[in-house]
């Protein structure tokens, strides 16, 4: 209901919308582009789109407004990434092992450690993993968004999982 009220006088309430969602959305953008400057640029472009199309948004239920903004931000992040990365060319051979300093990984490990593991994945793996596991897109949607084949999306997800698993095992054995 709160979101519906925000929409009623959209021009004056833009700041309220921004205050409500900016931090979450910046965090989301940063997860994709992994660069503060770029993340802010993506965030700004996303919010400009949100404000522009606010009138066309029809609220269906309480959480859908946030979901709508999230979709816009994800699309903006991917648009930004597509300018820099060819997702078809990301290969396992390009991966360089980085020094990784995190704690023991289990369900009780801190969220920051998981975030760090995901952020250290190669860009293609990270993007596909974020879209599939965190945002809940399916492979056909991911293929569409990244302009890649569905099989590429599947293989990148498998490799991403494998890599996350390897990192977890490595850290666990280090601290065992």
């Amino acid at each position: 209901m709160k979101n519906l009220l925000l929409l009623k006088s959209n021009k004056t309430k833009e700041k309220e919308i921004y205050d409500l969602y900016a931090e979450k959305m910046y965090f989301l953008c940063n997860r994709y582009v992994n660069n503060m400057m770029d993340a802010e640029e993506v965030l700004h472009n996303g919010f400009m789109k949100v404000f522009k199309h606010l009138h066309s948004f029809i609220e269906t239920h309480e959480r859908s407004f946030e979901f709508w903004i999230k979709r816009i931000m994800v699309n903006e992040s991917l648009m930004h990434l597509r300018k820099k990365v060819n997702f078809n060319l990301v290969s396992i051979d390009d991966i360089k092992e980085k020094d990784f300093e995190a704690g023991i990984m289990d369900d009780n490990s801190s969220a920051e450690q998981y975030l760090k593991i995901i952020n250290e994945l190669p860009i293609g793996y990270k993007t596909v993993f974020n879209l599939f596991a965190i945002e809940g897109y399916d492979h056909s949607e991911i293929a569409d968004l990244l302009k890649i084949a569905e099989s590429t999306s599947r293989s990148q997800l498998t490799k991403a999982r494998k890599m996350i698993q390897q990192k977890i095992t490595k850290i666990e054995s280090k601290y065992a």
Binding site: K15, Y18, D19, A22, E23, K24, Y26, F27, L28, N30, R31, M36, A39, E40, L43, H44, F47, M48, D107, S109, S110, A111, E112, Y114, L115, I118, F129, F132, A133, I134, T158, R161, I164, Q165, I168
Partner: protein, 134 residues
């Protein structure tokens, strides 16, 4: 760890972070000001773009209007006509041009008749009269 377990644990942890995100080195209010500045710049860029487009369009249309599309200010009636024929043609022109025709004069030195038409005179009409004259 099975695949879906990796996904679930990661999702749970990231969702946890998303609910209360800490974004070190980033300030929401400063970012809002930068966003407002960016929007203003975008608006003015758009404004200048449209203004420039209108100017260019006006210039191109003006050029076409002055050159190819419309007739020259004065045209000559062939001097192969006799004096009576010239006057007849002139009367014809005057009758047909209905308002487009403004004035005419006769050059006694070369025995030619000139007529003057206003700028809005259409090329189609002009060709019609020209054919009639010849």
């Amino acid at each position: 760890m099975p695949d879906n377990m990796i996904d679930n644990v990661c999702k749970k942890k990231i969702d946890e972070l998303s609910e209360n995100p800490s974004n070190p080195g980033w300030d929401k209010d400063t970012s809002w000001e930068r966003l407002q500045k960016k929007r203003k710049q975008k608006f003015f860029r758009k404004f200048y773009y449209y203004a420039a487009a209108i100017l260019i369009l006006g210039f191109v249309l003006g050029k076409q209007f002055n050159s190819g599309l419309l007739i020259n200010e004065s045209e000559e009636i062939s001097n192969t006509y006799t004096e009576i024929e010239k006057r007849q043609k002139l009367a014809e022109i005057e009758a047909n041009m209905s308002g487009n025709y403004t004035s005419y004069k006769i050059c006694y030195a070369c025995d030619e008749i000139y007529y003057r038409v206003i700028k809005e005179y259409r090329p189609v009409q002009f060709r019609y009269f020209e054919n009639n004259l010849n």
